[in-house]
Amino acid sequence: MLFEALALQLGYNATLVAIGSALLGISAGVTGTFLFLRKRALVSDAISHATLPGVGLAFIVMVLLGGDGRNLAGLMAGSALSAWIGLICVQSLTRRTRLSEDAAIGAILSVFFGFGVVLLTIIQSMSSGRQAGLDGLLLGSTAGMLMQDAMIIAGGGAITLALVLLLRRAMTLVAFDPQYARSIGIDPDRVDMLTMLLVLSVTVVGLKIVGLILIVALLIIPPVTARFWTERSEKVATYAGVVGGVSGYVGAAISASTPDMPTGPIIVLTCFALFLVSLFLAPERGVLAAYLRHRRFQEKVHIRQGLLSLAQQQPVYEPLTIRLLAREGLARLDGVPTEAGRARAAKALLDEHRWQIVHGMADFEAISSLYDGLRDIESVLTADQLAEIDALIGGPAEVTP
């Protein structure tokens, strides 16, 4: 069943939803990256909650004008307008008062959302509103998705993505160093505003599929997930697009293949699963890698310290050090070095002397900074350079036959 869903063989509606969700996921992930890099993830929460009164008002206006209150384009226009007003409120509260941005976000988010809920309740009591199903926009509802809706979502997502690609350099610069950006003629306030507009448009596009409460997850989890895998901002954006797209597609397929499974929440949970995998298994920044690295590092430090103690004929006290030396065949469990241990110890001491010389030489600065007490000096210096250094050390240990 899931396989058929993934292969888009589960009927018209399921196919529309899967493709729409994938596109939404890609544009949300890529757009969210710049919010994440700018450390303003919370703003998206204010934007999304501020859409609700607009949804209600748009419905009322459309009904009063004699149209269909559930027209998606109309609801999206209304929600965009009220989210924009909410955003302006957050901006001006932050700039003109001493309120910090997080406090302003908290205030605006709850006031707008509360007002929106009141409007939805009023609509429920209107005669034309009984079947409105507007609460579907809170958590997304894809059951009755039309081709027209899918086209709007795909078009909106694609335009947003194109604009993000166009602005990526400016947004990266502003996120990294806003003062420098201003010095070369980029206005950080304007770039921030454009970023927020893009986030707003993703939010509005995502109303139908994941809903306004969960869109934040689709904006933020993909870049956070991507960050585990790379140290370059453009790759964070690319990977975030992949994470978002895969989550949207797979999430939609899972919900289509299981009766009564809501699409939006499943997409978010799929995204979260990818996050969990990255959190634990990412090669550099993952939790497991960090633990193993720490453990290996600790062992290397103990062995190195042990060897240096042996070289200077000092006793090794720490039980862990002795155990590790014994495991490597460098010493017996009573602390007496083996033949191999003695050789390694002499080498360790020589390398310490060599590093000391390297530290004193200006030409070797890049190499000198690599010193961590553990690195093999042969891995950073050529044989000629080593010979040069050994000549400076002098003494019997360096005389080679």
């Binding site: 166009l166 160093d177 010095s183 200006a362 900074s369």
Partner: protein, 269 residues
């Protein structure tokens, strides 16, 4: 009214052509955080081809002056002209090196990515990054002795290395006027030497360098002009005639002991 008369009329004894040619001319600049001016009514005229140090005690407004001159902070009043024209049209001729502490160094970027940011004006929104751009960035890293670090993540750098990367980014801009905010603060000796060598090379090419500086002991060795500030301007001019015990006393007041000034071995003025 001629330009010269206009200038004297406003109480500045500055020849009009010096003003027009000056890489950075500031008139009546006041910047305020809240209701306490950080710098007040500053006039400054940077000499073309000079190396000028901005000095003054902590909280004197040195960095603020620099940022306001760049339009990074909005001044309350005053004008800034760069090579005789308003700042906005002249941005391509200025390069700024901010304090490195103002940045989150865990940002996902490699050293070369930061230097490539200096080419933003050249690249704009649409142009693709080419091997030529990368080559140029590498050359700038070479000039500050950081070419070996190009592929490193910026978070792995020491403070001095971070400072040199910022300088390389400014070099990539091919500017005429370089404004640096405490480039020598908290850096190692190797970095200090690398930076001053680059700055002196810029001066030799006829570029102008202005730096906020905190180490009075190196002023005579590094710079040829000084600007002393303590919220208001105290003095500006060539090091030989302006960097005097009397002016330092005026700028630093009791914060600089007489013994410290004597150590600098200055003339009486």
């Amino acid at each position: 009214m001629t330009q010269l008369e206009l200038a004297t009329d406003r109480g500045h004894i500055v020849a009009a052509e010096t003003l027009a040619a000056s890489p950075l001319a500031i008139r009546g600049l006041t910047v305020s955080y809240g209701e306490k001016p950080a710098v007040f009514s500053i006039d400054a005229t940077v000499q073309d081809g000079s190396m000028t140090a901005i000095i003054g005690p902590n909280g004197a407004g040195k960095s603020t002056l620099l940022k306001a001159a760049l339009g990074v902070i909005k001044p309350l009043s005053g004008t800034v002209s760069v090579y005789g024209a308003p700042l906005e049209g002249q941005r391509a001729r200025i390069a700024y090196v901010p304090q490195r502490a103002s940045i989150d160094w865990d940002f996902p970027a490699r050293v070369i990515d930061v230097v490539l940011m200096g080419l933003y004006r050249e690249l704009g929104l649409l142009r693709r990054l080419t091997g030529g751009h990368r080559q140029k960035a590498l050359e700038c890293l070479q000039r500050v002795g950081m070419a070996d670090f190009a592929e490193r993540q910026i978070g792995q750098l020491s403070g001095g290395q971070q400072q040199r990367v910022f300088l390389a980014r400014a070099l990539a801009q091919d500017a005429d006027l370089y404004l640096l905010d405490e480039p020598f603060a908290g850096v190692d000796a190797a970095t200090e030497k690398a930076i001053i060598d680059v700055l002196k090379a810029l001066k030799a090419q006829g570029k102008t360098v202005v730096a906020v500086h905190h180490d009075l002991a190196t002023i005579t060795e590094y710079f040829d002009h000084v600007f002393l500030i303590n919220v208001r301007k105290v003095a500006e001019g060539p090091v030989a005639t302006t960097f005097t015990a009397e002016n330092l006393q005026k700028a630093y007041g009791g914060r600089l002991a007489t013994a410290q000034i004597e150590e600098l071995e200055l003339g009486a003025g």
